[in-house]
Amino acid sequence: MLSIIIEALIKSVLVAFVLLTAFAYLTFAERKIAALMQVRRGPNRVGPWGLLQPAADGIKLIFKEEFTPAGADKTLFFLAPILTMIPALVIVAVIPVGPDVEMFGRTIRLGISDLNVGLLYILAIASIAVYGIVLAGWSSANKYALLGGLRASAQMISYEIALGLSIMGPVMLAGTLSLQGIVLAQQSSTWYVVWQPLGAMIFLVAGLAELNRAPFDMPEAEQELTAGYFTEYSGMKFSLFFMGEYIKMVAVSAIATTLFFGGYLGPFINEFPWLGIFYFAGKTMAFLFLMIWIRLTLPRLRYDQLMAFGWKILLPLALFNVVITATGIVLFN
């Protein structure tokens, strides 16, 4: 019993450490890639090739003044960044990053936990992730922030449905809600993106909308709402929002990898189980690059277009995908 707790603790600390490092260097990668695509140089002053830029940013943010507006609701203003950050961190607990490996004479699962309701856990956490943003908008006592919070809640509720329906495809094909089970099922057939191209696309689009990333970054549209829900935030509280958004990017990429692109699977995985981690990290990074690419390419949607697209196009498509998948399984099995 004690050894199980110690193992889980070590793994949790490791995952948190990896995610925070990933956050730091994702911001750096985004700025570098943006620079590359816009024919600029990007950050290159701090350290070799600017590699220490994230550390410099972090130190700067820690020493900035933390300002609380006079009319703000102090308790919720303080809680909101934390409530945004926590779901982003805990959602990855069910994602397997590799097959079971032997270490110190025991079998160790590469992943914190393997729930039999793993996917429902992901949906549940994703659905409560909106609170931090909404409460930040409300507690700031700022009209722009409130509008950003309202937009965020409407948008995330709308796209959650399409997101939930799009992951039903892999669930039906694998016959399980456990993520480890879904990966293993892809080992015996093939990557589910082959059977579920539409589902994978819906997942990516709805995932971007859940993240409030461009082109769905209505809640923080600079030109309309200054900075949306985090207009009044500064210092470490602001960076918590930032951290939440980037860690959620990593989480969505990891989930997409697991559900549609074979997770940690790859050549020679049975002989060298540790390779799984590299396959998994590589595929996740490819998705992260895709997200940055999309942000730099597409302009932002208008708010009414966003809602119309979510309800009138994405949701029927997702339903259609579920029906087609179910029919196919019944016919060909």
Binding site: Y121, A124, S127, I128, V134, S153, E160
Partner: protein, 183 residues
């Protein structure tokens, strides 16, 4: 009382205290945003109870549907209307307070009756407890044994959905009326 140990009782006691305080906080808070948040905490604790009872599927459904979807919509409406502060108005319903006392008395009587008359036959279904609350077990029950109630519920939800579409939808006549008003 079989199968109870100290740590289980301790966990239950802590969760129960949180649940009851959250419920009281919801009732007593003057700010409806805080009321809604206390209710979210309460739903979360109830979900934890489901996990402890070996029903992870129900727990996750509880979080997704109640804490995640319904309460977010509650918050949305509260914020949209700016209805955070409750004021005493003359529109308060006069029969609400006596009615609530009657209903509380009824609830307490029923609870008391159940507690007194429970037959302690030990844990039910101890042999298949691990698979009892799993998603596939719940699915089997819903789509085989309880298919009729399930379908009736879905028709109810469909009716509600169509109602919303009809009430909010822009019909041809209304659109024409709006256009003529604009002119």
């Amino acid at each position: 009382m079989t199968g109870l140990n100290i740590s289980e009782v301790a966990v239950f006691a802590i969760l129960a205290i949180i649940a009851i305080s959250a419920a009281l906080g919801m009732l007593l808070s003057n700010n409806s945003v805080y009321s809604a948040l206390f209710l979210v905490v309460n739903f979360g604790v109830v979900a934890t109870f489901y996990v402890i009872l070996g029903a992870p599927f129900i727990a996750m459904a509880q979080v997704t549907v109640y804490a995640g979807a319904i309460m977010v919509l509650f918050l949305f409406v509260i914020m949209l209307l700016g209805a955070e502060r409750i004021q005493k108005s003359r529109h308060d319903l006069p029969w609400q307070r006596p009615m609530s006392i009657v209903l509380i008395a009824l609830l307490l009587t029923v609870t008391f009756y159940v507690v007194v008359n429970q037959n302690d036959s030990g844990p039910l279904l101890s042999q298949n407890l691990t698979s009892y609350g799993s998603p596939s077990a719940v699915g089997q029950l819903l789509f085989q044994e309880y298919i009729l109630p399930f379908e009736v519920t879905s028709i109810l939800l469909l009716a509600a959905m169509i109602g919303v579409v009809v009430l909010t939808g822009v019909t041809k006549r209304r659109r024409r009326a709006r256009r003529s008003r604009r002119l």
